[in-house]
């Protein structure tokens, strides 16, 4: 340091801050506006999720998984249902699998549309991009409401299927949504992709090289943005994903812009998957749930044989894994959630170092976290 002594500034961003996406704190050390060090601090929203699950019967945990990633309750349900089905060896009928994949891909579209919107919001746009995403999200939530009765906390999945079949008004509304989606993707991309300020704010920011990303075991769009074509739907297909044709978009540099582009591309891939599902859905058989478990009492009395199981799904935010150990009783002996938001958050300090304070919130926005999932 030269003759001018300068002092580092400690700033606590959060836990009450407009763009920490919940109760999350970043201890930032600043030299002027440049970030010298950043330490993510979380745990403010810890609510004993795993312990609660170990004190409840298996099906009682299903509604709790809605509250993990409250934007994407359908994929959280899916992961948990998959884990229990593996543990207890439950067959899932074909139609149920199709409905599950349909819900998962709708979830992915709604998550990416709002995630991009929230990130643009963190850049300082006054909610406009977010509102465009929210508009499509509302339509998808309408569909969720038709199927499950709830817009966000869906609690739609059951072991061996889903709680009820799609209502008759679902498919016409779904077709209407599908007709509008390509126009939405085009508009959204046209408005945001080549916007000069967005490009200037996001390219070269928060670069996560592919080996570093893999080292932190980051997953989801953040990992794919760094150029690793890793997707659970392809790496370890579950449900009907093995039969579906889709591409895995990857980025090249691993900066904020790449992650955004990956999300744009993934929405289009989800649309492709939805088209395939829609084509085949009327011909599927087997009902919406395994007949052996169609009765709720059967679900409640489920006693998986002693053993362990791990199941993972590609949630919109990354690899969502559920680990279960059964001792043969109606309650799991051990229950563990591998939450993508939590793991993707760990390289935040490394990504932010050397960037300006304004970039920190953008990098955080590009990771796309939900605090309900980070602190369980």
């Amino acid at each position: 340091m030269s003759a001018h002594e300068s002092q580092l500034l400690q700033v606590n961003i959060g836990p009450q801050h407009p763009s920490t996406h919940g109760v999350f704190r970043m201890e930032v050390t600043l030299d002027g506006e440049t970030v010298v060090a950043l330490r993510p601090v979380f745990g403010y929203l810890h609510r004993n999720h795993e312990q609660l699950a170990e004190a409840s019967s298996y099906i009682q945990t299903m509604p709790y998984t809605d509250r993990l990633d409250y934007f994407n309750s359908m994929t959280s349900n899916y992961g948990y249902a998959l884990a229990v089905e593996r543990l207890a060896g439950i067959e899932v009928p074909q139609r149920a699998s199709y409905i599950r994949a349909l819900m998962s891909e709708l979830t992915r579209i709604l998550n990416h549309a709002t995630a991009i919107g929230f990130m643009i919001n963190d850049m300082g746009a006054w909610h406009t991009a977010l509102q465009f995403g929210m508009r499509e999200r509302e339509k998808i939530l309408d569909l969720f409401e038709m199927a499950s009765g709830a817009r966000m906390m869906c609690n739609y999945f059951r072991f061996g299927g889903v709680v009820r079949d799609l209502p008759p008004e679902f498919l016409p509304y779904f077709d209407q949504l599908m007709r509008g989606l390509p126009a939405f993707f085009d508009e959204f991309e046209q408005l945001l992709r080549d916007n000069e300020i967005i490009v200037a704010r996001s390219s070269g920011i928060g670069i996560l090289p592919r080996d570093v990303a893999a080292g932190y075991s980051v997953t989801g769009p953040v990992l794919r943005g760094s150029g690793v074509p890793y997707d659970i739907r392809r790496a370890e297909p579950y449900g009907i994903y093995g039969e579906l044709a889709f591409d895995i978009p990857v980025g090249s540099v691993g900066d904020v812009y790449d992650r955004t582009l990956v999300r744009f591309a993934e929405m289009r891939q989800s649309y492709r998957i939805l088209q395939q599902i829609r084509e085949r859905l009327p011909d599927t058989g087997g009902g919406h749930i395994n007949p052996a478990l169609a009765n709720f009492g059967k679900q409640k009395a489920l006693r998986p044989p002693a053993g362990e199981a791990y199941a993972r799904v590609e949630s919109p935010k990354g690899e969502l894994g559920f680990y279960l150990v059964s001792d043969g009783s109606t309650q799991p002996y051990r229950y563990k959630v591998r939450a993508p938001s939590f793991i993707n958050l760990t390289p935040l300090g490394a990504m932010c170092r050397g960037h300006l304070l304004a970039d920190v919130v953008v990098i955080l926005g590009s990771i796309d976290i939900v605090m309900g999932e980070v602190d369980r």
Partner: protein, 423 residues
């Protein structure tokens, strides 16, 4: 010609002593300006919220009063009843004075603006200089707020706002300088008067009708200057994409973080009034101020009051149009980063503003001088005034266009090598 409305003549208090008349005059004008300012600010908030809501597929405030137009009054009452919180570590006096120091200069700016034909509160000969000087004082208030609050976010916001104000004030004033050269004076009240006539040629063509459209924005110098001025006005008024001093997603509310209740409201009023004052200033200097079709015609027909009213409407129309443009920009684009903001001011705006001043000087030389220096090079002496304006417009247009392209090209040249990531 007496441009100010002398209230005493309306009130007929001829027997009153001179100082009383003067004091009354000023008190009434100040009252009108301040009340008008407060009402304008309330309307601005409502317009902004409704317009942004429109762009975002929402409705916006629509409950209080017809179409929600009284929403700002409800918000004002709420502000009044909020607790006034002063942080324990804050410097009490600085914390208290900061909003006042921020608002007062902006109210002072309103005084010298020509609101219509013959409607100007104080006709200063150095109006442009006054505006430049007074508007900078507001920055002191922001710094006081940031420093006095003893809050890291407030401090960061204050530092950002000072850096931004200094960086953008320079091109802003240089952009004004071009017009000062064109008009040959710093009086703001005279500027609209010089923008009569038809586009580009003003009143230089004999027999052409006075449409009130001889706005400086139609000349190459005014166009470039106007664009630079408007961009700088966005930065001065802390509007998106230059709202980094109070970037809510980064530093909560910048220097306003520790303010609540009425003090916060005063900052809020100051900001909206500054936006409006800058919109009016842009309109006065570049968009002809109160000039518009019909004003001259009414004045010639002997309907002075009607002409003044129409001119006021024209000015408000332009100012509100510019304000709505600011709102639309706010709804449409994200915010720049600090370094990008600075480099934009110093690398794009400042060189262009300097070139623009040179163009303005050339314009003045071509249109007004009849010296022999041009003689062999350019035979301007034999041309009629409007022909000389045409020549000047052509020359300055080429210079300004070339300079703009050059500045954009050298600044946007790609970095040396693209980032390569091993596959």
């Amino acid at each position: 010609m007496n441009r100010t409305i002398v209230i005493s003549q309306i009130l007929v208090i001829e027997q009153a002593p001179g100082w009383l008349v003067a004091a009354l005059n000023h008190a009434i004008i100040a009252g009108v300006l301040l009340i008008g300012g407060a009402i304008t600010m309330m309307l601005q908030v409502w317009v902004e919220r409704r317009l942004i809501a429109r762009m975002q597929d929402r409705l916006g405030p629509n409950r209080v009063g017809p179409e929600g137009i009284l929403q700002s009054i409800a918000d004002g009452i709420k502000m009044f009843t909020k607790e006034d919180i002063i942080p324990r570590a804050a410097d009490r006096w600085v914390h208290l004075l900061a909003p006042i120091v921020a608002l007062a200069p902006i109210a002072m700016m309103l005084a010298v603006l020509p609101w219509g034909r013959g409607l100007v509160a104080v006709d200063l000969e150095v109006g442009v200089l006054y505006i430049a000087a007074v508007s900078s004082i507001s920055g002191v208030g922001l710094m006081m707020a940031g420093w006095g609050s003893r809050n890291t976010f407030a401090l960061l916001g204050a530092m950002r706002s000072i850096a931004q104000l200094i960086a953008y004030e320079i091109p802003l004033i240089i952009a004004l300088l071009g017009i000062v050269l064109l008009t040959g004076g710093m009086s703001l009240a005279r500027m609209p008067e010089l923008q009569a006539g038809i586009p580009l040629f003003g009143s230089s063509i004999p027999g052409a009708p006075d449409l009130g459209l001889g706005w400086f924005i139609f000349t190459p110098v005014g166009l470039l200057g106007g664009i630079i001025f408007f961009i700088c006005a966005l930065a001065e008024g802390e509007r998106t994409p230059f709202d980094i001093p109070e970037a809510d997603s980064e530093i909560v509310a910048g220097y306003m973080t520790e303010y609540s209740g009425m003090k916060f409201a005063v900052f809020y009023i100051a900001q909206y009034l500054l936006n409006f004052a800058l919109a009016v200033l842009s309109a006065v200097v570049f968009l002809g101020g109160w000039q518009g079709p019909g004003v001259a015609w009414l004045a010639d027909a002997g309907l002075g009051a009607a002409a003044s009213l129409l001119s006021l409407l024209w000015l408000l129309l332009k100012a509100w149009g510019l304000f709505m443009l600011m709102v639309v920009i706010r709804a449409a684009v994200p915010r720049l980063r600090v370094d990008q903001l600075m480099s934009f001011a110093w690398k794009y705006l400042l060189p262009l503003a300097l070139v623009n001043v040179a163009s303005a000087a050339l314009w003045v030389g071509l249109t007004e001088w009849s010296s022999i220096e041009w003689g062999n090079l350019l035979p301007v002496d034999g041309l009629a005034p409007w022909q000389r304006i045409g020549v000047a417009a052509l020359v300055t247009a080429v210079i300004n266009l070339g300079a703009t392209r050059w500045v954009l090209r050298i600044n946007r040249a790609p970095a040396a090598a693209p980032v390569v990531v091993p596959a």
